[in-house]
C-alpha cells in the first residue's frame, strides 16, 4: 500500500542524480539540486533545456529514467501524482471548464474528503487572498487571462502543498499584466510561506521573483545562486549571455597584482578581481556588462581599466539610456549602455572613443568557453 504523503511530507525538495532520457537524448542529465523549504526558486533556461521536464518529474507527470526525488525525508520518486505533497500551476492554467470557480478551487479539498464547512472557509479565504471573491459562481471562460491565472494559483495553494510548482505561469499574459502578477505572486509566496518552484525562460521574471535561480542548459544546471551572484559573477559564458548581456573579450593572463589578475587584451593590460575569475588556464574571456562602461570622446581623462581606439559604429537612443555599439581596433564589437543622466552630448556614429570601467566590475571566464553561448 502506497503511503499518502499529500499532507504529511514537508521539508526541502531534494533532487538526486535525476535523469530523463528519450532514446539517446537526455532531456534532464544527472541533475542534483536542493531547494530549501520556504524559498522562491526559479529554474531558468531557454526552451528545450529540460526545465519543464524537471518540473513534471517533481509533479509526477513524467517518470524519471533514473535518480530520485525527496520532499524532506520522504522519497516521492515513484509516488502517483495524486499522492504527492505537490500542486502545480499549469501553463495556460488548465482550469476545469465545466466547473464554477468555487468548484475549481474546491476540487483538491473535496478529493481529500474535507468537510463542506471547511471547504467553504478555505475557498472563501483564498478567493479573498487573490481579491476575486465576486467570481465564485462564474465559469472559467467568463474570466480574463489575468483572473484565470490567479484562480489557477488559488486552486493550487488552497491545498497547502509542501511545494508549489509553476510552469511558465505568466507566459500567456501581456507585458503589463505580467509585471503586476510577478509582484502579486511574490507577495502571495511571502504571505503563505510555501516553497515555490518556478519554471521560466524569462530572465527578468526569474530575477524579479526568485531568491535563488538555477540556470539550466541542455539538461544540466549551468550555475545556481542569487540573482546578484549570477549577474555579477557568472561562471559560464551561457549564464553571462542568457542573464542580461555581456561583453566577452578574449585575453591572456600575464601576471598578478595582489587581489587582481592582470590580463592582456590585445596589448592593453586590465585588472580582474581573482575572486570573480573562473578561469583555469592562461587563456581567459574577460567579461564586462554593457552598463558598467564609461564612454568618453578620445582624449578625455579616464581611470580604472581603459580600452582605447574604439569607434562608435551604432547609436540607439532609448530614453533612459543610450546604447552604443563600439568597434575596437581588434575588430571586436562592444556593447555600451550609457545612462542619460548628464547633459553630456550624445556621441555620434564614427566618433573616436575611449572606454573605461572599474576593475571590480570585471569578471573572467575560462578561455575555452564559447563566447556566443546563450546569447539572445
Amino acid at each position: 500500500m502506497a503511503v499518502d504523503a499529500s499532507t504529511s511530507a514537508r521539508g526541502d525538495l531534494i533532487l538526486k542524480n535525476l535523469t530523463k532520457s528519450y532514446g539517446d537524448f537526455n532531456a534532464v542529465d544527472d541533475l542534483s539540486l536542493e531547494i530549501p523549504k520556504g524559498s522562491f526558486f526559479a529554474l531558468l533556461g531557454p526552451s528545450g533545456c529540460g526545465k519543464t521536464t524537471t518540473l513534471r518529474m517533481v509533479a509526477g507527470l513524467e517518470e524519471p529514467t533514473s535518480g530520485s526525488i525527496f520532499v524532506g525525508e520522504t522519497d516521492i520518486t515513484d509516488m502517483k501524482p495524486y499522492r504527492r505533497p505537490v500542486n502545480t500551476v499549469f501553463q495556460n492554467y488548465a482550469l476545469f471548464p465545466h466547473l464554477t470557480i468555487y468548484e475549481n478551487i474546491a476540487f483538491g479539498l473535496r478529493r481529500r474528503g474535507i468537510s463542506e464547512a471547511e471547504v467553504k472557509t478555505a475557498v472563501d479565504k483564498v478567493l479573498n487572498l487573490i481579491e476575486l471573491p465576486q467570481l465564485a459562481t462564474r465559469k472559467p471562460n467568463q474570466l480574463s487571462g489575468g483572473q484565470q491565472q490567479r484562480i489557477a494559483v488559488a486552486r493550487a495553494i488552497v491545498n497547502r502543498p509542501a511545494l508549489l510548482l509553476l510552469d511558465e505561469p505568466l507566459g500567456a499574459l501581456d507585458l503589463k499584466l505580467r509585471r503586476q502578477m510577478q509582484i502579486e505572486l511574490k507577495w502571495i509566496q511571502t504571505e503563505i510561506g510555501i516553497t515555490f518552484v518556478h519554471v521560466t525562460h524569462d530572465q527578468e521574471e526569474a530575477m524579479t521573483m526568485a531568491d535563488t535561480i538555477a540556470v539550466m542548459n541542455k539538461g544540466k544546471i549551468e550555475q545556481m545562486g542569487t540573482p546578484e551572484e549570477l549577474y555579477d559573477s557568472p561562471k559560464t559564458s551561457f549564464v553571462a549571455n542568457f542573464l542580461g548581456q555581456s561583453n566577452l573579450i578574449p585575453g591572456e593572463v600575464s601576471g598578478n597584482d595582489g587581489d587582481n589578475l592582470i590580463v592582456d587584451l590585445f596589448g592593453t593590460k586590465v585588472a580582474v578581481p581573482k575572486a570573480r575569475s573562473s578561469a583555469v588556464g592562461k587563456s581567459v574571456l574577460v567579461g564586462v556588462r554593457p552598463e558598467k562602461f564609461r564612454i568618453a570622446a578620445e582624449g578625455k581623462s579616464t581611470h580604472g581599466n581603459v580600452l582605447t581606439g574604439g569607434v562608435v559604429s551604432d547609436v540607439s537612443y532609448i530614453g533612459v539610456s543610450t546604447q552604443y555599439q563600439v568597434e575596437m581596433p581588434s575588430g571586436k564589437e562592444i556593447m555600451v549602455f550609457e545612462q542619460n543622466d548628464d547633459d553630456e552630448e550624445m556621441l555620434r556614429k564614427g566618433a573616436k572613443v575611449v572606454l573605461s570601467w572599474e576593475p571590480t566590475f570585471t569578471f573572467a571566464l575560462d578561455g575555452s568557453e564559447n563566447a556566443a553561448a546563450g546569447s539572445h
Binding site: S6, L61, P81, A94, H98
Partner: protein
C-alpha cells in the same frame, strides 16, 4: 422579407449589400428543405386524416382525426417495442463506443487516423447488405452460434436469429459509427492538461474520469445517443431481416400499411405519432442532460 431586411440593416448598422449576402446563402438550403421536407410533411399531414374513396388506393379528405387513435390502438405493442429496442440499442452502442472513442482520442498515437477510417469503413457497404451480413454472422452455421454452443452457453437447438437479441444488436451495430464519432470529437477536444490537473489535485484515475472526462464529454454523449436513438427507433430493416414476426417495430407496421395493405391514412398517422413521440422524448432528454451549460 424586404421590410425585415431593411430593419435588420438599420438595427445592426450594416451596409445594404453586406446584409443581403447571408440570405442569399440560405436560399439553396431553404429551397431544399421546402421541397423535400415541408411539402412532404404537409401532404403526409393531409393524408393522415383522409378516408377511403370509391376505389381501392383512392382517399378523400374527411378530417377524420380518429385515424390516429385507431392506428395507435392497433399497433401499441410495436410502438412500445420500437422505443424499447431503440433505447437498448443506444445503451449497447454507448457502452461499446465510449471505450473505443476514448482509446482513439487518448491512446492511439499514430494509429489515430487509421482507427477513425475503420470506424467509418462499414459505411462503404450498404445498410441493407450489412444487415444481411449480420444475419449470416448470427446464423445457424455462423461463428457466434458455434462459439456459444461450444461453450455450452446455449443449447444445440437454440437459435439467435429471428430474436429480439438479433434485432437489438443489429441496430446497435448499424448505428455504432453515429455514436462513436461525436464521442470521439468531444473527447479529443479535452485539454490533456485538465486531466493532469485533476491528478495533481489528488484525483486518482477513476475519479478523474468520473469528475472531469465524463462531464467534459457530455456534449458527445448527448449527440451520439440522439444520432443513434432517433434512427434506431424508426428503423424497420433490422426487424424485417433479423427479427421474427413477434419482433416487429413500428417502422415495419408503417411499411406494411403503405406498401402491402395500402392504408395510406393509417401509415401517415403512425408516422406522425412516431415523430411526435421522438420529439417529446428528445426534448425531455436534452433538458435533463443540461448540455447548454457545457457549451
Amino acid at each position: 422579407m424586404v421590410a425585415f431586411k431593411a430593419t435588420s440593416a438599420k438595427v445592426f448598422g450594416l451596409k445594404d449589400n453586406k446584409s443581403f449576402l447571408p440570405y442569399l446563402l440560405l436560399i439553396p438550403g431553404l429551397l431544399w428543405l421546402a421541397l423535400f421536407f415541408i411539402v412532404p410533411i404537409f401532404s403526409l399531414g393531409q393524408m393522415s386524416t383522409k378516408v377511403p374513396g370509391a376505389q381501392t388506393g383512392q382517399f378523400v379528405q374527411g378530417y377524420r382525426f380518429t385515424n390516429y387513435v385507431d392506428a395507435f390502438n392497433a399497433s401499441t405493442e410495436q410502438f412500445l417495442r420500437s422505443f424499447l429496442y431503440g433505447i437498448l440499442a443506444t445503451i449497447i452502442a454507448l457502452a461499446i463506443a465510449y471505450p473505443l472513442a476514448y482509446a482513439i482520442a487518448f491512446k492511439s498515437g499514430r494509429f489515430k487516423n487509421i482507427l477513425l477510417v475503420l470506424v467509418v469503413a462499414p459505411f462503404f457497404v450498404s445498410f441493407l447488405l450489412r444487415t444481411v451480413a449480420w444475419k449470416q454472422i448470427l446464423g445457424e452455421e455462423g461463428p457466434v452460434v458455434s462459439v456459444l454452443r461450444a461453450l455450452h452457453l446455449i443449447s444445440d437447438t437454440t437459435s439467435i436469429t429471428s430474436s429480439a437479441f438479433a434485432v437489438v444488436t443489429g441496430l446497435a451495430y448499424n448505428f455504432l459509427p453515429f455514436m462513436t464519432l461525436p464521442l470521439y470529437a468531444s473527447l479529443e477536444r479535452i485539454d490533456p492538461r485538465t486531466l493532469e490537473a485533476a491528478g495533481d489535485l489528488y484525483a486518482n484515475g477513476f475519479t478523474t474520469f468520473r469528475k472531469v472526462t465524463v462531464p467534459l464529454s457530455m456534449p458527445g454523449v448527448v449527440a451520439g445517443t440522439l444520432l443513434t436513438f432517433i434512427p434506431a427507433a424508426g428503423d424497420y430493416i433490422n426487424a424485417a431481416i433479423l427479427g421474427s414476426p413477434s419482433n416487429k417495430m413500428l417502422g415495419n407496421v408503417i411499411e406494411a400499411r403503405f406498401f402491402k395493405i395500402v392504408d395510406y391514412p393509417a401509415a401517415a398517422a403512425l408516422s406522425f405519432t412516431l415523430m411526435a413521440a421522438i420529439l417529446v422524448l428528445v426534448t425531455i432528454y436534452i433538458r435533463k442532460a443540461g448540455t447548454e451549460e457545457l457549451l
